[in-house]
């Protein structure tokens, strides 16, 4: 943990630096960001196998799907609760629920794999390529 001084156009400003075991947090006047290590292989693996991961640490409220079930894009896979608000993880595209790795009542960590998806058997069906993101229930109104 340390402060560094940067200079742009002759004007000085402060950067804050804090390492974690894998990456580093950098703060600048008015903002901060985490920078993780380059991990190209993880990105490639993510594309090959559709894993629905927890976008935050929280508690699983409900898993309204069963393994083996075919779901449509946008269908709710997992309801998570953190800081007293509920968030829905939805299917990013049509697919089959392969494995469910969590159960209602369980605490899950950020990044934990909650559901593994498999492509829909029909050859014409769109494959599930990107993982679900949690979306607030009122997303329609947010944008």
């Amino acid at each position: 943990m340390k402060f560094e001084i940067a200079v742009r156009n002759g004007r000085r400003f402060r950067l804050a630096v804090a390492r974690t075991s894998q990456g580093v947090w950098i703060g600048w006047p008015g903002g901060a960001k985490y920078f993780g290590p380059e991990r190209a292989e993880a990105a490639a693996a993510g594309a090959a196998q559709a894993e629905v991961r927890a976008p935050m640490t929280g508690r699983v409220v409900a898993v309204p799907v069963l393994s083996g079930q075919t779901v449509l894009a946008g269908e709710v896979l997992v309801i998570l609760q953190a800081m007293k608000m509920e968030y829905r993880l939805t299917a990013p595209g049509p697919g089959v629920v392969d494995t469910i790795h969590c159960a209602p009542g369980e605490m899950v960590d950020l990044g934990a794999v909650l559901v593994t998806m498999a492509p829909v058997p029909e050859p014409e069906a769109a494959t599930v390529a990107s993982p679900a993101r949690a979306r607030p229930r009122r997303r329609a109104r947010q944008r």
Binding site: T20, S21, T57, K84
Partner: protein
């Protein structure tokens, strides 16, 4: 007199500081895993509560207060602060509840009771139905007033148990979710349905009552919200006519007198673009944004609550002076749907500058946990003019360093610097009505990250002494953790 503060985070810290200033001994409580929290160190005595939900455990809190010979309980906001049964149980146990009487809470604090009381006082009330405990009754109410409607928890605020419903097809799921949230947040699943009005300003009156008389300490505008939770609050309101301001404050005092209100409270209104206004609800407790009024009036609202709970008389209402703006620093990522973040606070440096107040509930090294509200701290700036207060708050937010947990720091600056805010065109829909671009990451920050990552940290731990990155909110959902941009 000894006071148990039945809360955590910034509000427990703020209350404990005033108690110490008043020379009143204090007791802090903390749940499992919250023992390292900042508020624990600000009290004379401390007691542990089992489980993360300990702050909602009324019998345990009362037993703890008696065991440590406390005479009074300050509930803060959230948790049990608006629970009439808790206030009653305190009274039955011989403890002074620092807040209004259970009777006044039933008349005003309960959203259902408040609607009835406001109607009796002749206040304009927002169209809606206050008894919607079944999906069928909610559906009938929504049909009668017309979509879009808001489902609200009868037992509390803060955006929990609240859902905007655009049409009948979305009602069932929203109803079930609101019920679950209300149960978790307030131990009270009762719901009500109201017409959703937009565009509208959210304006509220701060009141103090001593059971006989009541005064208003002026209004606050809290229109800027996301997910029905306020983000930026200010006083005075930048955009309501003087006649509306007068009418709101008078209505608030009328309600307080009617309920023989004996504490601090807040009466909330929605104000349309033409100044037309509707009563919304009463918060029978200390409000998150109370410091805005404190900076304008010089009244310590927590001290006033304590004095009024002991039977004191009302202070003379001072003339408000200047302008104050508050920004809520939350552990959340505004650019990922305001998802909450948690993790260890690796580095923390609060701004310190003239005309700035920081009400914080965290310290360096502490873990921000997913069990509680995402509010980390409030930054409040005062200025002789609105523009001066705005500039001071922006500079304060630029001075702030908080690493380890994603926050809305950059978003707050964006909002305060936006044309809408500068012009005072602030409505409840403003924040969610448009996209807020991702903040620019300075090239110097990226370069510093590359330099830091080029040298491996000590085996098994980073600078913060954290063994793993399990809690750090950096990972994108795809797990790639790529160096961006």
């Amino acid at each position: 007199m000894k006071v148990l503060v039945a809360n955590r985070g910034e509000i427990a810290c703020r209350i404990l500081k005033t108690l110490r200033e008043m020379g009143i001994p204090s007791v802090a409580v903390h749940s499992d895993g919250d023992g390292d929290a900042l508020h624990v160190d600000l009290a004379d005595e401390v007691a542990a509560l089992a489980a993360p939900s300990g702050y909602l455990d009324a019998p345990l809190l009362i037993e703890t207060a008696r065991r440590l010979s406390a005479d009074a309980v300050h509930p803060g906001y959230g948790f049990l602060s608006q629970s009439a049964p808790f206030a009653e149980a305190c009274r039955a146990a011989g403890l002074t509840f620092i807040g209004p009487s259970p009777e006044a809470m039933r008349l005003l604090g309960d959203k259902r009771g408040a609607r009835r009381t406001a109607e009796e006082c002749g206040l304009p009330v927002i169209p809606g139905a206050s008894e919607c405990d079944t999906l069928e009754s909610a559906r009938r109410a929504a049909y009668a007033i017309g979509y879009p409607v808001l489902i609200k928890a009868a037992g509390g605020g803060g955006g929990k148990g609240m859902r905007l419903v655009g049409d009948d097809g979305a009602l069932a799921e929203a109803f079930a979710a609101a019920r679950r949230e209300a149960e978790v947040a307030f131990a009270d699943p009762r719901l009500l349905v109201e017409k959703y009005l937009a565009p509208a300003r959210h304006v509220e009156a701060q009141i103090l009552g001593d059971g006989r008389e009541a005064v208003a300490l002026g209004e606050r505008e809290c229109s800027l919200q996301r997910r029905y939770q306020k983000v930026i609050e200010e006083a005075p309101s930048p955009g309501i006519p003087e006649s509306t301001r007068r009418a709101l404050l008078d209505a608030a005092v009328t309600l307080a007198r009617k309920a023989k209100y004996a504490s601090a409270g807040t009466v909330e209104f929605l104000v349309g673009p033409g100044g037309e206004h509707f009563f919304l609800e009463v918060n029978t407790r200390l409000q998150v944004e109370h410091p805005v009024t404190e900076l304008l009036t010089g009244v310590d609202i927590v001290a006033a609550q304590v004095e009024l709970a002991l039977g004191g008389r009302l202070p003379e209402p001072p003339t408000p002076r200047g302008h104050a703006i508050e920004a809520r620093l939350n552990a959340e990522d505004p650019h990922r749907g305001f998802l909450p973040s948690s993790g260890p606070v690796l580095m923390l440096d609060w701004p310190s500058r003239p005309w700035l107040r920081v009400d914080s509930g965290i310290r360096q090294g502490q873990e921000v946990r997913p069990d509680y509200d995402p509010l980390l701290a409030k930054l409040i700036a005062w200025g002789a003019s609105r523009e001066q207060a705005r500039r001071r708050l922006v500079e304060a937010l630029r001075d702030l360093t908080l690493l380890g947990v994603a926050t809305n720091q950059a978003f707050l600056i964006q909002v305060l610097e936006s044309e809408e805010f500068r012009r005072g065109e602030t409505y409840t829909s403003t924040l969610e009505a448009r996209r807020w671009p991702l903040p620019e990451v300075p090239a110097e920050a990226v370069a510093a990250a590359r330099r830091a990552l080029a040298t491996r940290p000590a085996e098994g731990a980073g600078d913060g002494g954290v063994a793993a990155d399990r809690h750090s909110p950096w990972q994108e959902p795809d797990g790639s953790g790529r160096l961006v941009p």
